[in-house]
């Protein structure tokens, strides 16, 4: 567990450093995600016991953290409610726009993907 936490924090740290260095718009954790993914794929070639142990440790800990993913959005979410007045008289309009546009985007994206997948699988 502790080793896995170290690995995850380390990759985030690496991501934050790279973001700052290259002045990128992509957040540090997303860069950390990409780096960790590349490392995991690269490590596939080396099947020593130590690497396998560490890998399964990281896998288990990550699954544990991710099972509480939605909890982690609560603190900023409360901020949203407390700061809704920022939107002033736009609030109602913004809510409608966000609702329609988000639901349509989800439907369109998933629809397109399912149709393409079906066509490919038929061939």
């Amino acid at each position: 567990m502790l080793r896995a936490i170290f690995v995850i924090f380390f990759f985030q740290l690496l991501g934050e450093a790279l973001k700052k260095f290259f002045e990128m718009l992509i957040p540090g954790p997303v860069i950390g995600l990409i780096l960790l993914l590349i490392t995991l794929i690269f490590l596939k070639r080396f099947k020593t016991r130590a690497i396998n142990n560490l890998k399964s440790d990281v896998l288990n800990t990550s699954n544990y953290i991710l099972s509480y993913l939605s909890l982690l959005f609560v603190p900023i979410g409360v901020g949203v409610v407390m700061h809704l007045s920022y939107l002033e008289n736009n609030l109602f309009k913004v809510l409608i726009i966000v609702f329609i546009s988000t639901v349509l985007t989800i439907g369109l994206t998933a629809f397109l993907m399912e149709k393409i997948n079906k066509r490919i699988n038929k061939k």
């Binding site: 609560v74 736009n90 913004v94 994206t109 998933a110 629809f111 993907m113």
Partner: protein, 243 residues
């Protein structure tokens, strides 16, 4: 009377410490999660929305500032970064499926990302939203830190973008599955991808609580659309300024 004074002094002591706000956050989330499971994972009973509501009510009624609350809750907020890194694991496990669906992923990514931005723009024009609010809304389908960066770049207000982005996430997580069911979509990878693309982390959390494959594709879409939005919004913005 003495009793009451004593209780009040205990409260004054506790509310100044992070522990109280941490406990409140986890407690209200557990209530939300309990109701969510009790409702058989009905999307409108969103655990995030419920706990946000409970905590906001407590803060408003006790006249506590958000800054005081966040000072305690920031320990939970901090884990958002590591959790994002941890999303590498489900993506890694499903890497073969992702490679197989590379074509549908790229097409839906570009179309979905463009649609999210352009439809937001079109609706803002219809509803006559001020430019500054409009600019703050354009990157809302990207994950909050990316969206705020883009907003700053094109002349929006980053804190407003943060608010709109979170609202987008909650809307997507609460209502997205209705759209997917309405269209009778069965492909878990497609359902997850749509949720993650349009409603980033909160949509991903929702997808992950329902189905692993959906969760993986949501996480993938969250990462990819963060990057796509960061490229497309400034690009479309420049085009808009030319015409």
């Amino acid at each position: 009377m003495i009793q009451k004074d004593k209780l009040y002094s205990i409260w004054v002591y506790l509310q100044a410490e992070p522990l109280f706000w941490l406990t409140l956050t986890i407690g209200s989330y557990l209530i939300g999660d309990y109701l969510y499971k009790k409702s058989k994972l009905f999307p409108l009973v969103n655990p995030v929305a419920i706990s946000i509501l409970i905590i906001s009510l407590v803060l408003i009624n006790l006249d506590i500032s958000y800054e005081r609350y966040f000072d305690g809750a920031k320990f939970i907020h901090f884990m958002l970064g590591p959790a994002t890194v941890a999303l590498a694991i489900p993506i890694y496990k499903q890497f073969k499926v992702i490679q197989k669906e590379a074509l549908s992923i790229s097409v839906s990514l570009v179309v979905g990302s463009l649609f999210a931005i352009i439809s937001t723009f079109a609706f803002c024009e219809i509803f006559k939203i001020d430019d500054q609010v409009l600019f703050s809304m354009l990157p809302r389908s990207a994950t909050a830190p990316i969206a705020m960066g883009i907003s700053d770049l094109i002349g929006g207000i980053p804190s407003l973008t943060a608010i709109i982005t979170i609202i987008t996430g909650i809307m997507g997580a609460s209502f997205g599955t209705f759209a997917l069911d309405f269209l009778k979509l069965k492909d878990m990878s497609a359902r997850g991808f749509g949720l993650g693309l349009a409603s980033h982390g909160i949509g991903t959390a929702r997808a992950m609580s329902r189905n692993e494959t959906a969760g993986v594709f949501a996480a993938l879409a969250l990462g990819l659309n963060g990057i796509a939005t960061a490229i497309l919004v400034p690009l479309l913005f420049k085009l808009l300024n030319i015409f």
